[in-house]
Amino acid sequence: MATQTKRSRFLQQAATHLILVVFALISIFPIWQVLNISLRPGNQLLSTSLELLPANATFQNYVKLFAERDFLVWLGNSAFVSLTVTLSGVVFASMAGYGFSRFRFVGKRAGLLSLLTTQMFPGTMLLLPMYIMLIRLGLINSYLGIVIVYSATALPFCIWTMKGYYDTIPVSLEEAARIDGCTHFSAFYRIILPLAAPALVITALFSFMSAWSEYIVAAQILQDTDLWTLPIGLKSFEASMSTEWGLYGAASIIVMIPVVILFLALSRWLVSGLTLGSVKG
């Protein structure tokens, strides 16, 4: 009897590992593909073999990317846009989320509902009017336009996340601070904000990712190649009849690595930040 349950437990464990390994492989597969393509020498780009690493693996695509293409310009543009969006996202969301979590005021319910409603807007509903307005204002090729659009589109979700997290922090903490003579602002800034670090991290991550990975809006607003962000640049490798797979692969790996590392490093907070937000939301 005892050996039988032991055996069935072993089988169960083995099956669990098997399934997890299969899914892990499926998750890695496309990344391995991109890496593989990026390392292929020029004459093997259209190879039909499925080796782990290509024969004669080389970094020439990476070198070419920096030496012959505007990749550095795109990288700089994307970094600038994404960091600006992140900074404004964290500042605005941490403040507004706190307001919604702690105070009662006229229009609070309507405000929260309208934030939720923005999540249902199809992208085109904001993009099209913005596009027409930017044409009329002559701002079609500008960072200002795109930074504002990105900040605002990520903001509602970030405010909800922050609000949800603040809701889990006991109000008694500020009340104690207020009795000790703290102002509203210093109670918020010195006591609550540090406790909300996990949610701040999530907010920063989402703002950054949304700007770093956005193609659809950028493709319409940034038409001048000097202003291109990474997504438009990478798509351009694939745009013409002959796709430059090697360059595309190399660029993808470089673009992907920082966000993947960031994402995985923060994944511990991802679970708590997101679920607490949605439980209390």
Binding site: F29, T48, F103, F105, T124, M125, M133, I216, Y248
Partner: protein, 297 residues
Amino acid sequence: MNTDRTKSFIAFLVVPSFLLLAAVVFYPFFYNLMLAFGNMNLAKMRDWQFIGLRQFIKIFTEPSQPDFYEVFVRTIIWTVVNVTFHVTLGVFLALLLNQKIKGKAIYRTLLILPWAIPQYIVALTWRGMFNYEYGSINLILTKYLGMPAVEWLRSPTEAFLACIITNVWLGFPFMMVVALGALQSIPHELYEAAEIDGASWWKQFRNITIPLIRPVMIPAITLGIVWTFNNLNIVWLVSNGGEPSDKTHILVSFVYKAAFNFYSFSYAAALSLVIFLILFVFSMIFMRQSKATEAAY
């Protein structure tokens, strides 16, 4: 009720965000509303007029290329298939990860990867993998599984299936992470008590796990449905703008094409509004319905 000081603090907290949102979200929303009742296109940028409901009548009654109802049905299929897979795979993997097993952290990390990669890279990479001659999907099918190669990107059904496969791949980690968080918050004693009472695995799953992860999953699923319904990136980039011959469009990619390839601004604005209303009504009903069933537990 609030003192003046508190009032100005609240204003300090909330007003900046709402000014930003007013400029970039609410103002365009109303502008879009106005456009939807007009006849603006590239030729009539400045001298457009209000023409009432004519754009909406056009959407619902006039034949279009591609057909509105066909695209609508495809969008429903797209959303249902994707979200079903996201939730089942997500919850299933979360259940596996919630056991005591070796290498849990590594598995979790690897399984989150599809979520971590920028969507447009996912889309373009999968598009490459679906290439008929050189794509790895066909190579695996023909070399290792002995199946015939599939014309992924050149025939409508297969191209749409390619979009779905890509989107399923990229969407399950979100549900997995949410489900895992919910599972971890279930007190262990509940399962121990059920074990003592002799409840089977299935009974425990139905009567403990599902009801307890429900309050977390319902908002996540609602969000998932809305995001999937509106996911322009994947369809646009995997099928390269609705290819072949506009047979893979979902509603948002259809609007995007009408707006930025054909410059039918008012028509696109009206269609955007229709999409928004569909989602708005759906979310209200869905959330209310699930609140009602939640109360029944």
